[in-house]
Symmetry: D4
Subunit: 175 residues, 8 copies
Amino acid sequence: MPDRKTSKKPVLIFMGSENDHEVMREAVLILEQFAVPCEMRVSSAHRSPKRTIALAEKAARQGTKIIIAGAGAAAHLAGVIAAHTTLPVIGVPLDSSPLKGLDALLSTLQMPAGVPVATMAVGKAGARNAAILAIEILALHDARLRAKLARYKKKLAQSVEQKERLLRKSANKSD
Amino acid sequence: MPDRKTSKKPVLIFMGSENDHEVMREAVLILEQFAVPCEMRVSSAHRSPKRTIALAEKAARQGTKIIIAGAGAAAHLAGVIAAHTTLPVIGVPLDSSPLKGLDALLSTLQMPAGVPVATMAVGKAGARNAAILAIEILALHDARLRAKLARYKKKLAQSVEQKERLLRKSANKSD
Amino acid sequence: MPDRKTSKKPVLIFMGSENDHEVMREAVLILEQFAVPCEMRVSSAHRSPKRTIALAEKAARQGTKIIIAGAGAAAHLAGVIAAHTTLPVIGVPLDSSPLKGLDALLSTLQMPAGVPVATMAVGKAGARNAAILAIEILALHDARLRAKLARYKKKLAQSVEQKERLLRKSANKSD
Amino acid sequence: MPDRKTSKKPVLIFMGSENDHEVMREAVLILEQFAVPCEMRVSSAHRSPKRTIALAEKAARQGTKIIIAGAGAAAHLAGVIAAHTTLPVIGVPLDSSPLKGLDALLSTLQMPAGVPVATMAVGKAGARNAAILAIEILALHDARLRAKLARYKKKLAQSVEQKERLLRKSANKSD
Amino acid sequence: MPDRKTSKKPVLIFMGSENDHEVMREAVLILEQFAVPCEMRVSSAHRSPKRTIALAEKAARQGTKIIIAGAGAAAHLAGVIAAHTTLPVIGVPLDSSPLKGLDALLSTLQMPAGVPVATMAVGKAGARNAAILAIEILALHDARLRAKLARYKKKLAQSVEQKERLLRKSANKSD
Amino acid sequence: MPDRKTSKKPVLIFMGSENDHEVMREAVLILEQFAVPCEMRVSSAHRSPKRTIALAEKAARQGTKIIIAGAGAAAHLAGVIAAHTTLPVIGVPLDSSPLKGLDALLSTLQMPAGVPVATMAVGKAGARNAAILAIEILALHDARLRAKLARYKKKLAQSVEQKERLLRKSANKSD
Amino acid sequence: MPDRKTSKKPVLIFMGSENDHEVMREAVLILEQFAVPCEMRVSSAHRSPKRTIALAEKAARQGTKIIIAGAGAAAHLAGVIAAHTTLPVIGVPLDSSPLKGLDALLSTLQMPAGVPVATMAVGKAGARNAAILAIEILALHDARLRAKLARYKKKLAQSVEQKERLLRKSANKSD
Amino acid sequence: MPDRKTSKKPVLIFMGSENDHEVMREAVLILEQFAVPCEMRVSSAHRSPKRTIALAEKAARQGTKIIIAGAGAAAHLAGVIAAHTTLPVIGVPLDSSPLKGLDALLSTLQMPAGVPVATMAVGKAGARNAAILAIEILALHDARLRAKLARYKKKLAQSVEQKERLLRKSANKSD
């Protein structure tokens, strides 16, 4: 596995369908914010299985460190990828069937012993957190990312306080 | 695809773990009752993915007509097989996690358009019905199987009546 | 049972209500794409039970090979039909109650041993897959259908790749 | 429909399998307590459908006033009976699959408009209440039953008080 | 209890909130169609409990034969009424919380032994069926209602056939 | 309302059935540990409704400050009590049906606006927490109880640490 | 802990995000109606944990008597606050993820023994009831609030009756 | 953050209660198998919150790279830890309430954007996979671990094949 410095794109993002793009780009936006390069692929566990497996298998050789996979319904995508790599795989269950994501959640999460998928919340919150988790992993060996993460965490807290101030102002005005 | 007459084993039964054998042999027992040869394989979608795919891909060439796959938890087995064959795939969700089979049910059933899995009930009833469905499919071109199925169906009804008689007798006795 | 060649309509599609038509015609469109003739009937397990049973019972004699049944809520339609035929019955649970199809799913799937219903995903994906499964079954004895299925499967994979290219283009443009 | 006085057995109890007898006899015991004659039949909606329908159709002619039907899993029994009679049908969902009766509950309850099933709680409480509801219906035109029901209701309340006394005694003893 | 002939309004319909009126009037419309008089009351098990109980207790004395109660969320209305009467009580769970009626369904259905509530499907189908069940009960001693029910059942079946014809016509046109 | 000092039993504990005693006595044990007197009553919302209401209505007059109510299935007990008092009512859903307490949970929790029930976790943890919550409320005006609560909270934390030490010791021994 | 009379704001309302304001202000409106001062804070258990804990820890010292906390998804807010105070904590689960509040409900309710959260219904009904419960607790030592609560309860019942009258009028008009 | 080579214990395992030890030691056993040192702590998010936070906050400084947290019911442990560190946090939901782990699953998984928890399957499979995921992350910068992981993955597949052979043998014997 090449060193991270020589690898251009440490994060590889899969989605099972082009319809999942609106949700999964939330992950891309977070990674861009941290200047972590990523590549996005549309590939289905069921409709294009060979390509999915091929992409999963060569990921480590091409310098990928972490794979994120978002899929809905019988969401096998993350699990199938995890079966063909020893890279950490992060799964994002999507709400794309009448069952509101419960199917995707259980299909992604309930992996058998030996083949983990790091499962995130259903939908956009999960897509964003997949990116944060990837950054947390990369930051274990990247002091600059660690510093950025610390700032990000501080801003999260500050943003909550700021929104409280805005809310109070508007509440006072509406009195 | 070879003609059924020359094929020794038209039904191929997969299970994701040897622990699933107790349930999946219910399918074997039904097939034996109808004298339909079958072969049983233990192969996991996640722990032995390459072998699972290889077995799925060569099934049609070896005369298999129908594949039955039983798995629990994030039950991807039937779906992964269906992704690598155009044979009919029958899925049996198993109750092998604290979530009582709801996870296996949704993981097996909620397949995306283009890659169907004929899903059965959770557990032993599902394993038996997978065999019956396979026989119904084979019977479409096998008059002897059709006759057997008709007899089986008649016996199902007779057995209900017979059990009613036994129940009434024992109910009378206990008066 | 007449030979498939003499039978004009090997697939019979039931729906429990005319409101289910929008979903169930997805199955018709797939069958038309494969030039597999089908007939569509509106008949309810509960509101027109005698007619449903009569249609189910005579299906085999009229050359039907596979029955597809879509219904919502306490979706008994596929199960009632399966009780009156030995043809393979494919069930499509529909999302037509406040419970979002979970009721239809369990009512269709959890059949007792002896009377299988090949259950598909809830809604349109399920309706499409019911047609594909029917075609997979018919293809067991129809080399032309087998060839079409192989092409269909290839196109599924190609379509995923193509959509990836379009997505990347539009992603680049929006940069 | 014959008058209740000439009818020997105003209540007809169906169960889908002899395994359901342990639960459904709770209904019989309650009916015996109120001296309301009943008949018990084992008949499945799926395994012996014709007999089930025949029994349902002739029930009204034979003096049955109320039908109780207990079944598990894809519990179609009450709904199928309701489709073939205009007598009131009471459904008891049974806990006989890994899904703990949720499947039977939704399959029994979610009937389409026009064909009601009066659904009771899952299991023994439901079986007992099916008998009470049947008695409440019969009591609408039977002053003696109304008096018995009033006494039963009083005893329910007294029994709660009595059990409180026993509990307090034993609690005091254990101090 | 007065004889039905002297009673003007054999059916009493409760709803827990005026917001439930849109759904519960479906029951009224069916009862009007069968010329069965009914009275509608808005009364909550929790917000106006004394009045609810008073209405429930005097219902039998005022000639009510059957009580229908529709409520959402922690739907105690039907159960509370059933605790204060020996008339048959029919419960309609309503979809009025984020949990989509699952809360109302379980709160209405899972009554303890001794105090049954005849539970219907969630929402409008349930409201309609509550009326039909009430009519089925009244018809046990009313030959004219029995005849109307038989016609209603026949029309249900005919309406399904008619809708099939319309669907086929419009399907042919769109070809 | 009498002052707490003159009231002997500020906490009144209801359970819907004597079978619930094993769980609800967990609340009693906690209250005894804090020397808060309580009274226990068995009274059902459905089987002894008048008595339940009478007890609820007179509770405030008799010096009760907080009511705890534990019930299973369609657990209306806490809600019915809350409808007849303005004292704080704490509900404990019990796991006493095949649905594992989900029915009791939703029946207790989903109260309409205006009539709150402070709902606790399902089962023994919930019964214990009902007692703690009652103590927290009483402690608002009782400095000694506040001090005891502070010690209890400290001990909770210490107990966790102690158990860690024991675990580590036994883990070392088993090496 | 200061006496309530000297404390300006006995109720402290937390929400996990400014997006929860629309629901949580329902609690504020009820408290204002009862002239109970409250303070509102936006603070997240996960994004601003230190501030949340600091606010929780100093609440009692600043005269807060009751804390209300509303949060969605993995709703840890009420539980985290309860871990850092011995004041009564009321939790309001919010419907802010695809899982419709079921996640927030279970995350808020299922607290371990020792650390209770008084959980309310999902959404606006829950927010209103959190305020009523807080008032019920404060009323235990405030005769004026007790009188107000009694009036409020009476008005709840009257409002139901009034709405019935309006409904009947408009029903008559539409005849 | 110290380099991994100097750090003795890169993995820190939390459990919320000593009762969780039986499940969480599955993670320890896997880590031992890979010779990855770990430390185990019993600390509750609710009962010993300060200590939990203190341990979480100092983890990074002490050389911890990955935190695993197992908890049941309202399983806030992983989320609370994640709120106080930027290390990757892996959550294992445990089945320790009547709701069978569904509560722990949703409480662990549905984290808000910004604070991810890498959630594993419920119970022992999840505990084992937490260890594997931790190893996959450490292996990104540890060639020896990568080689071990590759061997582990190969053995997983071989073990499946071996179990198939044993199953076939015993199946043949039992003929």
